[in-house]
């Protein structure tokens, strides 16, 4: 009897199962494998295909990053520009774009702690690294893909909210076209500042998470370290009355990418340290962090 229930007649035959057939589809290269890891990192960091509890915290943090833009634009949409009429600043400067990165820097760092630890710690804890290294990925490529995934997640928090505010400013302007022409530079500044913040945070987040098998330890170490460093740097700047003390802010992880962002927007950077200094600090720390984690993964392969 076949699947459909019909009785096969005498002398007839039917093949129901030809058994195992080899895979004959296309085989792609390294970019395909890296794409899989990047997508997996994004999904894991944002809690996709995970219990609701895993989704709540990243969602909450993302909402927090979008909140200033959503509130300002929402009020303008509902009430109009006169809602801010009593303030002495133009309506598109209620939350200035250059300030946006300062507002969300702490939230982004918390999101980094979640995303980086989620990206790297389970692989060490579950001991799956050999499976990655036995595929089309070397330790370096694996790390590059994981870091890229974290950067991508952070970019959602660092680029999309100010971009939304900027787009809203354009659309709600009295003359959108002339507003756009006059403020197109802000678009590029948002991309640059958002990417710098995401890359910097992702690099130091992954450098810390790469040394722990446990997500809680990695996240705690990152946040504790960042808070401690920033506090010491800020205290030094405020309490030591010497010109050099302002350069202490170059050691404050929450200040460095914000300084770069302010500089890209052409605004005064924290403690009036030249923007190039912040950029140099960002580049050096990012390269150092990536080098440290690369060495760690290359040394112990599994």
């Amino acid at each position: 009897m076949n699947d459909g229930g019909a009785v096969i007649g005498r002398g007839e035959g039917r093949i129901l199962d030809r058994g195992y057939q080899h895979y004959e589809g296309r085989r792609y290269g390294v970019p395909w494998a890296m794409r899989a890891v990047i997508l997996g990192t994004v999904q894991r960091s944002l809690g996709f295909r995970r219990p609701t509890s895993a989704k709540i915290f990243p969602l909450f943090l993302l909402l927090g990053c979008f909140a200033p833009a959503l509130i300002v634009l929402g009020v303008r949409l509902l009430v109009g520009g006169q809602a801010f009429a009593r303030r002495s600043v133009p309506v598109d400067q209620v939350v200035p774009l250059w300030r946006y990165f300062d507002l969300i820097a702490t939230l982004v760092m918390v999101l980094t702690a979640l995303a980086a630890s989620e990206a790297l710690c389970p692989d060490r804890r579950q001991r799956v690294l050999p499976l990655y290294y036995a595929s089309l990925l070397t330790p370096r490529l694996y790390l590059a893909a994981r870091v890229a995934g974290v950067v991508l997640v952070l970019c959602v928090a660092t680029i999309l909210p100010p971009l939304l505010l900027w787009t809203g400013n354009v659309l709600l302007a009295d003359d959108p076209w002339s507003y756009l022409a006059g403020h197109i530079g802000q678009f590029w500044a948002i991309l640059g500042a958002g990417f710098a913040l995401a890359l910097f945070d992702a690099a130091i987040g992954c450098a810390v998470a790469g040394f722990s098998e446990r997500k809680a330890y990695a996240a705690g170490a990152l946040l504790g370290g960042v808070i401690a460093l920033t506090t010491v740097a800020e205290t030094t700047w405020r309490s030591v009355h010497a010109d050099w003390s302002r350069y202490a802010l170059l050691f404050a992880p929450l200040r460095v990418p914000v300084g770069v962002g302010n500089w890209l927007f052409g605004h005064t950077t924290p403690a009036a340290v030249a923007g190039a200094w912040y950029l140099a600090a960002l580049v050096v720390v990012t390269i150092l962090a990536l080098a440290i984690i690369e060495r760690a993964y290359a040394a112990v392969r599994f």
Partner: protein, 331 residues
């Protein structure tokens, strides 16, 4: 192994490699896995010392006590470690950072190595993507079918038993249809029926031309998986090839033979006089003989049987098991 044993094995090396089936004899033209004078040390600890071997398609078992260097060999073969000296080649190519080669190798690591939060299908699909397969779901379902877990494809791995997790790991190693399979303790946790099925799967893949290197410390499993073995002791290759032929080469140790026959007492009385016979035990329908000269024994048994008018039913070795070979090599 004592010094004498090492010297003996060293002296036999050339003849052994030439003689053993499944190795140089059968696959000398195209060995798929080659280690040439490979050493690996970690600081002052020597994990492997001047190990050389070449194996071809088929199932080969890597045996050795804990700390013998088995895992180091497997890591070298999958590019996880770089040899301190010597060369490692798989399918004729160097291994380290050779990404195209990794498409042709499947690895089942000893560790847990699964994501509990993924379903089996998602886990195997991930492996398919990491190997660049454009139709990962299709490939994953084929691999899952191979290990007989179709019904569990949509279940999360943290709900799996240890044996099922092992099969999940094997499925991810098979998903890209590798030519070389490296399996580190693949049967751990599997129940007896699953073990038989997995061994049958390995044999089937080997028949299709795959080279399968299985590390295990369970001798009964190794014996079931085939005759070809590599035995590592203290980071050195102690023996390789068909373990029955290795037993033949252990001529410094008496052989134990059982002769099932009529009139065992009379037959024993004649055989005990043979030179080389060191022990004879009489049983109701058989005798057990320990002899240092197997050739003389083989000639003496039929002669003695004719003399006493006894019928012979069987002459069989008692110590030709892998366990006896292994014990000899590691003691």
């Amino acid at each position: 192994m004592n010094g004498e044993g090492k010297i003996l094995l060293e002296a036999q090396k050339t003849a052994r490699i030439a003689a053993l089936p499944g190795h140089a004899g059968e696959h000398a033209a195209a060995p798929t896995i080659t280690l040439d004078h490979v050493s690996k040390w970690f600081g002052e600890k020597v994990a492997l010392s001047d190990v050389s071997f070449a194996i071809g398609p088929g199932v080969t078992t890597l045996l050795g006590p804990n700390g013998a260097g088995k895992s180091t060999v497997l890591k070298l073969l999958t590019g996880q470690l770089r040899p301190s000296s010597g060369t490692v080649r798989v399918l004729g190519q160097p291994v380290i950072d050779n990404l195209p080669l990794y498409r042709r190798i499947g690895l089942v690591p000893e560790q847990e190595s699964v994501y509990g939060f993924l379903t089996l299908r998602e886990f195997v699909e991930l492996a398919a993507r990491l190997h660049g397969l454009a139709r990962p779901r299709e490939a994953a379902l084929r691999a899952i079918a191979l290990v007989g877990l179709n019904d569990a494809a949509e279940r999360r791995l943290d709900e799996f038993s240890k044996g099922m997790r092992q099969r999940a790991k094997i499925a991810q190693a098979l998903v890209h249809e590798p030519e070389v399979l490296i399996l580190d303790e693949p049967l751990t946790g599997a129940d007896p029926r699953q073990r038989l099925e997995l061994i049958a799967l390995f044999e089937r893949l080997a028949e299709q031309g795959a080279t399968i290197l299985v590390s295990t410390h369970v001798l009964a499993e190794a014996e079931r998986m085939g005759r070809n073995v590599l035995v590592l002791v203290d980071g050195k290759l102690a023996a390789e090839g068909d373990f029955r032929r290795i037993r033949d080469l252990m001529n410094d140790r008496p052989r134990r033979m059982r002769v099932r026959c009529e009139r065992p007492r009379e037959l024993a009385a004649l055989l005990v006089r043979e030179p080389g016979t060191s022990e004879v035990r009489v049983q109701p329908d058989a005798i057990e003989v320990e002899t240092a000269d197997l050739r003389a024994f083989a000639l003496a048994v039929p002669r003695a049987a004719r003399t006493v008018g006894a019928r012979l039913y069987a002459v069989e070795p008692l110590d030709e098991s892998l366990e006896s070979v292994f014990r000899y090599l590691v003691e």
